[in-house]
Symmetry: C2
Subunit: 388 residues, 2 copies
């Protein structure tokens, strides 16, 4: 298979963007990515886009052709992928493999969601479409309650990590403070997390990711083609890709404190990349809730099972720690426009590897990893990147 | 790239299936395809599924993980593709290329839609999400009116083909009559089409595809792996795959009587397959409306532009004609459960190539072609198959 690289990136600001339609978000981020690559748009041969639920949120489906026309690329093949919160990274993986297989040379890949114009109860019901309607939604189970059960089970198995969960939120808010695209620019303390509005045991509002509008795009190219074209910025190679699966329903999982989809995606991605955890300089991972951040750093293999919270308390995932996590601010503070999230994680990694991350730039950022979950971890997509 | 083949097929009956949920449809068709392949289900490494709008129609999104669990394949990577009425064939193309690239050896690919439990006005509004909300839906334009405008423009450019449109419906009904899975088993005449309930100029009810429940699945495998495993039925190789795009909105297309997405997909698929129109024995094409059937047989290159209607009148697309079209009954009479349609076309081609099509079996069926459109032809996917 051919080597594939990211040659352009673009995203909108994340947040409550009243002045933007879904089309505006897609147009801005897509055109930014093409401009950032510095290539003629005629070179783009296909468009892949992740979108969770334009149908229910915006009465707009078929976001592939919709995006191609919005960005000014009609006449190229397009498609949408959906896998709940992993919708964006699923598009990224498919596009990578299409280039690796030699079907295309240059592909535009994005993700987008417009959510904040809808009421919170309605958005909650739409997000709950990513659960099993009969086994979970009918029982009144929403995603906060699913991950609340996971947190409580984690406490049972490994001890109470309430404080370290709060520290994850503090860390993500700190990172987002230095990210101009982030939805929240507010430094918080552990006490703030404890005192937040209660959501479900053990979460307060500060343990939960945000409802956001936003879009992110990247231009992908065969590495040899990218070198031949001559692109504006440092080329960032996709050295690993993994896609894992698990049952959709929580009740069917034999264990809920280790997420099987993450393990499967991790093994595939690391094997393809030929690297180990020790080689990774930074991680953007799926912190839909604070407990998920702790579980993820364990499942990804950076810390032993049950030792993730200790690592958080010791500052190991901070910007100056052993393995900086969510330098962009994460779903918690950068925001979570569902379809865009997986691509936005890649945006941050590429920005860091290029050395363009401004006030949040890491000293060392040569190899980075993204981790994107869908639903109650029924889907996981992991990618590993290296600067060329 | 590796050769890829279809080694198993399964579908539900299409129609108003009151007793089936979306989950039931998926389970039945998926399990039938695996049983038909005669392989252990543990060999299946990934699941791709096309679904247009489970969210709006069934309050169920994230159909990838949902399907994996329903079929009894939890723990494998899964994803959903969406591109309006081409949702199913987009999954098929992605899965093919993942196998061709060496990522997977055996993949289950399907499509499903549950529609008939909703009211006709609601279904119409959900289907209209595949148009541009602001430019088309806001103006009261639905898909029958889009394709009605295309038909009237076709009349303007090439003359009135009202009668030949009706003959397409008659032909599809004839073929469906011999297909036990078809929604309609009713032979009709040209007069019946003329006298049907009016929909929009120039269409009556008999010019329009159906609202249906249904699911269809196929098992795909690397051809060398399939031979090694030893499967139950004749192996059918995927020799060509093409994916074309065009503007989403009708108003942006310079020409609406030739569908640019079809031309693009056709060129890619034929080039890959190394065959010409003369080599194709049968076609399953996207007859969302009768006019589309005439346009498609021209765009696919079987007849000159403007000569498609004459070919229909001469019986050239009938079961005993030069190029039999829609032996399964088409969207018009087999049915159109949106996400399932693209896979159901493949089901028919494989069945014919195997020689298992019962009362509608063609004498010669060695090389077949499927053609699946999405939206107002903003997307087109074409595949070409050959029996081994």
């Amino acid at each position: 298979m051919r080597s594939v690289s990211v040659i352009g990136i673009g995203e909108t600001k994340f947040g409550k963007l009243k002045e933007y339609t879904l089309q505006d978000l897609i147009r801005e981020a897509g055109q930014k990515a093409i401009a950032d690559a510095g290539i003629e748009k005629e070179r783009i041969q296909a468009l892949y886009i992740g979108n969770y639920n334009g149908g229910s949120l915006c009465s707009q489906s078929t976001i592939g052709a919709f995006a191609a026309e919005a960005i000014g690329l009609p006449g190229i093949p397009s498609m949408r992928t959906e896998g709940a919160c992993a919708s964006g990274s699923l598009s990224f993986r498919q596009a990578c493999m299409m280039i690796a297989a030699g079907v295309y040379d240059v592909v535009l890949v994005g993700g987008a969601e417009k959510m904040t114009h809808q009421s919170t109860p309605y958005v909650t019901s739409v997000i709950a479409q990513a659960e099993d309607k009969n086994l979970e939604v009918a029982a009144g189970v929403t995603f906060p309650s699913i991950f609340g059960m996971i947190a409580n089970r984690y406490f049972h198995e490994y001890g109470n990590v309430r404080k370290e969960m709060a520290m994850c939120a503090v860390n993500n808010h700190r990172n987002a403070y230095y990210n101009p695209d982030a939805q929240l620019h507010k430094l918080i303390t552990v006490e703030d997390v404890y005192n937040g509005a209660p959501v479900t045991s053990p979460f307060t509002m500060y343990d939960c990711s945000l409802v956001s509008d936003g879009a992110a795009f990247v231009v992908l190219a065969a590495t040899d083609v990218a070198k031949e074209i001559g692109v504006k910025n440092r080329i960032v190679e996709v050295i690993g890709s993994g896609h894992g699966g698990d049952t959709m329903t929580l009740v069917s999982k034999p264990c809920i404190t280790t997420l099987a989809a993450t393990l499967q995606a991790r093994d595939e991605a690391f094997k393809m990349a030929g690297v180990t955890n020790a080689d990774i300089d930074l991680v953007e991972l799926h912190d839909c809730f604070t407990i998920t951040q702790i579980i993820n750093i364990e499942d990804l293999g950076f810390f032993e099972k049950g030792k993730g919270a200790k690592a958080v308390a010791e500052g190991k995932i901070a910007y100056d720690g052993a393995i900086p996590v969510n330098m962009g601010g994460g779903l918690k503070a950068k925001g979570h426009p569902i379809g865009a999230t997986g691509i936005s994680q890649i945006y941050e990694i590429v920005n860091q590897i290029r050395g363009n991350a401004g006030d949040r730039q890491l000293n060392r950022a040569e190899i980075g990893l993204t981790h994107n979950l869908g639903g109650a971890a029924g889907t996981c997509t992991i990618h590993i990147f290296r600067g060329l």
